[in-house]
């Protein structure tokens, strides 16, 4: 199972901070986004046209082409605003 984390405004929008998901049949981050969008509602709004949505795989920034597998820690979050 992969661990999926959601942060900040995205976490509030989805009302979900984390979940575990079997991604054995999902090859890339882009495909995972597509599958999350298919949940409908807030998920579709967040992941179907994810403008400004950032993502990481195993705590490194990643793009849609990144390969994913079970055991990975995958995170989605809005643009960062620290400092």
């Amino acid at each position: 199972m992969a661990r999926i984390l959601y942060f900040a405004s995205l976490r509030e929008q989805l009302d979900c901070a984390s979940e575990t998901l079997d991604v054995a049949n999902i090859e890339t981050l882009g495909a995972l986004k597509q599958s999350l969008a298919e949940r409908g509602g807030a998920w579709q709004a967040a992941f179907s046209s994810p403008v400004g949505l950032l993502s990481s795989v195993n705590q490194q920034m990643a793009t849609d082409a990144a390969a994913i597998a079970n055991q990975d820690e995958i995170a989605f979050f809005p643009p960062v605003t620290g400092g």
Binding site: L5, F7, A8, S9, G52, S56, Q59, Q60, M61, A75, F77, P78, P79, V80, T81, G82, G83
Partner: protein
């Protein structure tokens, strides 16, 4: 290199002393302290909530620190970023660079802040008298970070 993400406040002079302790190669330190500022038109900010991604945040700050050490001849550096609930006027971030020469220390410090603002996973939420809202990222921060990519 000291990287810390913490709820507690920090003390600039103590951190500067710690950074330089036992060294004789440091000729200059440069520090940047960021404070929580009320940017509302009607001074309505009550607090700022700082959220981060535990694990990745420390890693990202370490990567940024290592990149600075590759680009400038700096002896050592410190990055401390606070998280949790902060009040207007509170300290939020501290960057200190130590180097033999001032120019390296100045430039590395500015670079660290510019990269931190666009690459480290922190998010600010403003709590005002009228409610809560997430702070939007700023193009000017992205532009400030990008200029270091054309600087070599």
């Amino acid at each position: 290199m000291k990287i810390a993400v913490q709820t507690e406040d920090f003390d600039l002079s103590r951190e500067t002393r710690r950074l330089c302790a036992g060294r004789k190669d440091v000729g200059a330190t440069v520090s940047f302290t960021g404070l929580v500022r009320d940017m509302s038109a009607d001074a309505s900010l009550l607090a700022l909530e700082l959220e981060h991604y535990p694990g990745m945040t420390e890693k990202a700050l370490g990567d940024i620190g290592n990149e600075a050490r590759q680009r400038w001849d700096i002896s050592d550096l410190t990055i401390i970023h606070r998280v949790g609930r902060l009040q207007p006027g509170d300290n939020i971030v501290l960057v200190i660079t130590a180097s033999a020469h001032r120019r390296e220390a100045f430039e590395a410090c500015e670079f660290l802040m510019d990269y931190l603002k666009t690459r480290a996973p922190f998010w600010k939420k403003e709590i005002t008298r009228d409610g809560e809202s997430w702070v939007a990222s700023r193009h000017s921060d992205a532009d400030a970070a990008e200029r270091w990519q054309h600087n070599d």
